[in-house]
């Protein structure tokens, strides 16, 4: 069978001509025909009822399938001839459609490059080619003018010095500019440590939580600006992403960062510790706890010792006053007073056996009836020998004789104040004593005379809340400590002699050296101010102790007390040497109760012993 005829079986039957012209063929898309013939009959499109299987079979069987295309104008299939296929191939290759066209024909110049004797054109020359150009003239004159005026500079001669030469050939180390003296050279970049290695020892790698902490830190706060990492081999090491950043930051540091010369402190810390005399050379001082005086059931607020050093009196919050024998720790006597005892003071005169006790609004003068019978008998006689003066004088307080019941207990006189009394202190002679009343008026400090049963108010005006008062041991001076200052009054001249600035916030206690030259003030803000009365009104030395209160002065020793423990401060006053405060020993013993430790400290008058009373209801003796 003829293969050419098989694809178009209906071709000879139908008139396949395009009668519609060059119109968009979509218009006939939905119709079975395209255009009409001369008789006005429809010209039908060739029937296309082939499904995909037929198409495939045709593709397989028809050898001319590849050169068959559909004519859109008529809808008929056309087989391309060999020439047509050739043309398509040439166009696809980008060649010319015409087979015979030669694109590389030799070029023929219209004008020859050789100079000929005849002109190309016969046109006479323009006039403008004979006369000089005005425009050019203008331009040249402009340039000339510009050159004259120096606006255009001639080309500079090439600089023929080499780029690099021996710059420091004639270096003179002495020619350093003055500016270089102020020069602060930039510190060099820190050299890398083991942790920066690409293969660091395992201990330098960060653990999980360290890594997390590193990530949460501010970049400026980080100790390392990278996370240490370990790679098995050099090949595995990647580029460091922040390399350019780090270089840039270094640049910024070099030109933006303010520089300052800082002196590096290069001291041995051991040199900073002051050289103090060895405590061993300063003996004797108490070192061990020797006795514990038990008996009180509440905190022991105050202590006092008899001038002979045989008896000790302690006042407590359990409303009793107890008298102890120092050497045996026996409680000789218990005196219930019916109120919290704020302060006790034993008369410093060895011939008088009398104790002043502050209980609420009154001061009790108690004869403890201890020791030499002659002595305490004499004291009773002294008190009873009082003869009331004829005319009653107006007194700020009331002196009341003790009742019989009280008398049997030892109480001799009761001095009733208008307000609560917080401190009582004796004069060295043992006749006068002073009491401090918690009040805001000028009635805060009162001075009493025992023999005349006479009280007076030394101050006309209040100078602040009085914390404590003190008599000078030898001379007629009177110390009044308010919150910030210590005022020193001369009792004879009745005037203010000195005002000591303690530099503390709130003075709590005050003690004086038996020589009378040195004063120590303790404060609630844990400071210790030491004044030398011969010198300035400012502290000679200010110590930070953890202590709160301070007490005791006899001998060479002065004491400072701390809340949980007890410190002894040695007052080393050598005539040849400047006086020096040396901490000598920390004495421990008291138990912390109610956040309070030691409440009062006291030195023995003749021995290097220290008593301390604490909130745990005990009194302890250190020897």
């Amino acid at each position: 069978p003829c293969p050419a005829l098989t694809p178009l079986p209906s071709a000879p039957l139908q008139d396949i001509r395009n009668t519609v012209g060059n119109i968009p063929m979509e218009w006939y898309q939905d119709f079975p025909h395209i255009g009409y013939n001369l008789e006005g009959k429809r010209i039908y499109k060739p029937i296309r009822n082939k499904d995909e299987l037929d198409m495939f079979l045709e593709k397989m069987e028809n050898p001319d399938y590849w050169r068959t295309v559909q004519d859109k104008m008529t809808g008929a299939d056309i087989k391309l001839t060999d020439e047509q296929v050739d043309l398509v191939h040439r166009l696809q290759k980008g060649q010319f459609g015409d087979v015979h066209f030669n694109p590389y024909e030799p070029a023929v110049d219209f004008f020859t490059h050789e100079v000929m004797i005849h002109p190309v054109t016969n046109r006479p020359a323009d006039k403008r080619s004979f006369i000089p150009s005005l425009i050019e003239k203008e331009k040249v004159s402009k340039l000339v003018h510009a050159i004259k005026m120096g606006w255009i500079k001639p080309r500079k001669p090439k600089d023929d010095t080499p780029t690099y030469y021996d710059l420091w050939a004639h270096e003179d180390p002495n020619s350093i500019l003055g500016r270089h003296k102020m020069h602060v050279p930039a510190p060099k970049m820190k050299l890398p440590g083991h942790e920066e290695s690409y293969n660091p020892p395992p201990e330098y790698l960060l653990s999980e939580e360290e890594k997390l902490a590193w990530e949460q830190q501010e970049p400026a706060e980080r100790k390392l600006n990278f996370v240490p990492q370990q790679y098995r081999c050099l090949r595995a090491v990647p580029a460091y992403s922040r390399f350019i950043h780090e270089r840039f930051e270094r640049c910024l540091d070099l030109y933006l960062c303010p520089r300052q010369r800082k002196m590096r402190v290069n001291v041995d810390p051991e040199d900073l510790i002051p050289k103090l005399p060895k405590p061993r050379d300063l003996q004797p001082f108490p070192t061990t706890q020797a006795l514990v005086y038990r008996g009180h059931t509440s905190l022991v607020r105050c202590l006092s010792i008899s001038p002979s050093g045989q008896w000790l009196v302690s006042g407590s919050d359990d409303c009793t006053v107890r008298f102890w024998e120092v050497c045996t720790a026996r409680c000789m006597k218990t005196l219930p007073v019916g109120g919290v005892v704020k302060s006790v003071a034993w008369n410093p005169n060895p011939t008088i056996c009398l104790v002043a006790i502050c209980v609420e609004q009154s001061v009790l003068l108690v004869n403890p009836c201890l020791g030499d019978k002659l002595l305490y008998g004499a004291t009773d006689q002294l008190l009873e020998s009082y003869v009331a003066p004829e005319e009653e004088r107006v007194q700020p307080v009331q002196w009341v004789m003790a009742t019989m019941e009280e008398h049997s207990k030892g109480v001799r006189l009761v001095i009733q104040h208008s307000k609560a009394v917080k401190q009582v202190t004796w004069h060295g002679k043992g006749d006068y004593f002073a009491s401090v009343v918690s009040d805001n008026s000028n009635m805060q400090v009162l001075i009493h005379q025992t023999s005349k049963r006479w009280s007076q108010n030394p101050f006309r005006k209040s100078k602040g809340l009085v914390q404590c008062v003190l008599f000078h041991p030898i001379r007629p001076y009177f110390f009044v400590a308010t919150q910030r200052y210590v005022r020193v009054y001369n009792l004879l001249k009745q005037e203010l002699t000195k005002k000591l600035m303690t530099n503390c916030k709130w003075v709590s206690s005050m003690a004086i050296h038996p020589g009378g030259d040195n004063i120590i003030c303790g404060s609630y803000d844990s400071k210790l101010a030491w004044f030398d009365l011969d010198l300035s009104t400012r502290p000679y030395q200010l110590l930070r102790a953890c202590g709160v209160t301070l007490g005791g002065t006899p001998g060479r020793l002065e004491g400072g007390s701390q809340s949980p423990a007890l410190t002894c401060l040695l007052h080393h006053s050598d005539l040849l040497q400047n006086p020096l405060l040396v901490p000598v020993k920390v004495l421990k013993g008291h138990v912390l109760t109610l956040d309070l430790g030691v409440l009062d400290v006291l030195f023995h008058p003749t021995q290097p012993w220290v008593f301390s009373s604490g909130a745990d209801g005990t009194v302890r003796l250190y020897t």
């Binding site: 030469y165 270096e171 060099k188 460091y240 933006l256």
Partner: protein
């Protein structure tokens, strides 16, 4: 009272300083120009001692320059050049706008340029000053020389940086002054000793840069401008100090060797010059032909006040240095293509070794892989096929570690595929009390001439034995403690029965308390110290506490590291044991 009223802030430190804005106004410069000027001239802000006084009572944050510095800038000729350049740019723009191309040409021909020579001389009056400040210059040049030739900065700058850096490396090779190298995760650190000055620089690993956007490249370019000038002059001087030609020329003999044998020219001489230079494999030409007799032994002049011991120590040190310089002398290396060629070639050549690489990798290869004289081949692959007998196959870390250790380390730890020992920083010198990694201790012992390897292995084994024993002992102890408890119970029972019989009061035998003399003394001393600290002045106490805190922190850190290491070691050991048991079973 006569006299004028003294006004505040008209004398003293307030007049010595000037704020940045006022300085800028005084110099009549824009902020970028001022910045450029400061960078080039090395002017930096100063932190005044009393900031409030200088700031006229205000506490606002301001940067201050020394007034003298700014006055000094006033007379700087470069300031005028900046202005000229500004004018030039304006004229050029105008000419472009008017399309006056001849004007554009003329302007471009007369482009104002400036030189930084005088600034270099002024900032570094002596050559040693310049050497001291070379660290940043080198690091910057090495960074810039790795930049791509696209847009970030001028191509000329990059090429210049590359050239200068290569010249410097060649100088280091010629003078053999490299001392320490360190592979960090940031890059490779090198430290050389140039004329007695330590010079440290860092080069990045050879990868394409991920250019950050928050970096001002103009600032970096300005720095580089100055640094290239400085480095050029330094190179010139350094080359001349060694009698080498500058710009460097490759030695004639080596040059001939470098020429490809096939006769096909690789490139023009002028083009391949830099590549040949950066191959780092050829020696450089000298002004005067080197004669070996030149190397006269240095005469020794005894310094006054120096004892014989010190002299000996100095001599020993010098000998060690000489030995270090000739570390790789006589060794022939071959670099595989996966190994970073430039740093390794540089290091090996610095210590006298010969080095080559595959011909296709880079110009300048002198011998082939198959060369039988090769002693070491540097390889960075897990395993090597076709090993040649008679040479060591080593990982690159061996070269670095050997240089730092100043001796050729045993090769066994560095074979391909072997777990490498940690790479330690040579820049750390441990003080007393600092944490020293055990590897470093081992290394120190090796430098002293001991051989710690065998001992430690033996110890390990012994330790293992000990551990076994200890475990047994522990068990025994447990038994004992149980026994003791039983005894105690028995005793208590006995006591109970006794107390029932006897009176409630009893006297127990006192125990003899042994006093430890030393401990007592120590306690006493520590208490004395504590009391003395109480008496310190406030300022001194603050300082003392700070110092002590620092010391304690150091100790804490060292302890932490040691504990971490111990934990790691035990973990590793247990793993080993487990695997051993598994193998046995």
């Amino acid at each position: 009272m006569g006299g004028l009223e003294k006004k505040k802030y008209e004398r003293g430190s307030a007049t010595n300083y000037i704020t940045r804005n006022r300085a800028r106004k005084k110099l009549q410069l824009s902020l970028p120009d001022f910045r450029r000027l400061c960078i080039l001239k090395g002017i930096y802000p100063h932190e005044p001692k009393h900031k409030k006084k200088v700031n006229k009572g205000s506490t606002a944050a301001r940067t201050f320059y020394l007034l003298k510095d700014i006055k000094f800038l006033l007379h700087e000729p470069i300031v005028n050049k900046f202005r000229e350049y500004k004018v030039f740019v304006r004229k050029l723009r105008k000419a472009y706008g008017k399309s006056e191309w001849s004007t554009v040409d003329r302007l471009k021909n007369n482009k104002p340029t400036y030189k930084l020579d005088h600034i270099v001389k002024e900032r570094y009056p002596t050559f040693v000053d310049a050497l001291r400040d070379l660290d940043d210059a080198l690091s910057m040049c090495f960074l810039f020389s790795t930049f791509p030739r696209t847009g970030k900065c001028h191509v000329q700058t990059i090429q210049l940086c590359r050239r200068l850096a290569m010249e410097f490396l060649n100088y280091i090779i010629a003078s053999r002054s490299l001392r320490k190298v360190f592979l960090s995760i940031k890059g490779i650190y090198y430290q050389a000793e140039v004329l007695g000055q330590p010079v440290t620089w860092i080069t990045p690993y050879t990868f394409a840069h991920d250019h950050p956007t928050d970096v001002d490249y103009r600032v970096m370019a300005t720095f580089t401008e100055f640094y290239t000038t400085l480095l050029g002059f330094v190179n010139f001087r350094l080359y001349h100090s060694l009698n080498l030609l500058y710009p460097p020329k490759i030695d004639g003999q080596a040059d001939v060797e470098l020429k490809p044998a096939e006769g096909k020219e690789y490139a023009m001489d002028s083009e391949s010059y830099l590549e040949k230079l950066s191959a780092l494999s050829a020696s450089l030409a000298r002004v005067v032909a080197p004669t070996h007799e030149d190397e006269v032994e240095m005469d020794e002049f005894p310094v006054e006040g120096e004892t014989a011991e010190q002299m000996d120590a100095r001599k020993k040190e010098q000998d060690a240095l000489e030995k270090h310089k000739k570390l790789f002398e006589g060794l022939r290396f071959f670099l595989n293509r996966e190994v970073p060629r430039e740093p390794l070639a540089f290091i090996i050549r610095c210590f006298g070794g010969q080095v080559s690489w595959d011909k296709s990798l880079c110009i300048g290869a002198t011998y082939d892989v198959s060369n039988p004289s090769i002693t070491h081949q540097i390889v960075d692959r897990p395993r090597v096929e076709q090993q040649v007998v008679g040479r060591y196959y080593l990982q690159p870390q061996w070269v670095f570690d050997s240089v730092n250790a100043k001796l050729c380390l045993p090769v066994a730890d560095y074979f391909p595929g072997v777990l490498l020992p940690p790479h330690l920083s040579p820049f750390v010198t441990e003080q007393e009390g600092d944490y020293v990694p055990p590897e470093k201790l081992k290394l120190l012992a090796m430098q002293r001439g001991e051989n710690p390897d065998e001992e430690s292995e033996e110890e390990d084994e012994e330790e293992e034995d000990d551990n076994d024993k200890e475990e047994e002992e522990e068990e025994e102890e447990e038994d004992e403690s149980e026994k003791e408890e039983e005894m105690k119970l028995k005793k208590m029972e006995e006591q109970k029965t006794q107390s029932n019989k006897a009176l409630p009061v009893k006297v127990t035998a006192g125990k003899l308390r042994l006093e430890d003399r030393q401990r007592l003394e120590q306690e006493q001393q520590s208490e004395e110290k504590r009391l003395a600290i109480m008496m310190m002045k406030k300022r001194e106490k603050y300082l003392y506490k700070k110092i002590m805190f620092g010391k304690k922190r150091k100790v804490r850190e060292a302890n932490k590291l040691a504990a971490k290491r111990k934990a790691h070691d035990t973990a590793v050991k247990e793993e080993k044991k487990k695997s051993k048991k598994a193998r046995r079973a």
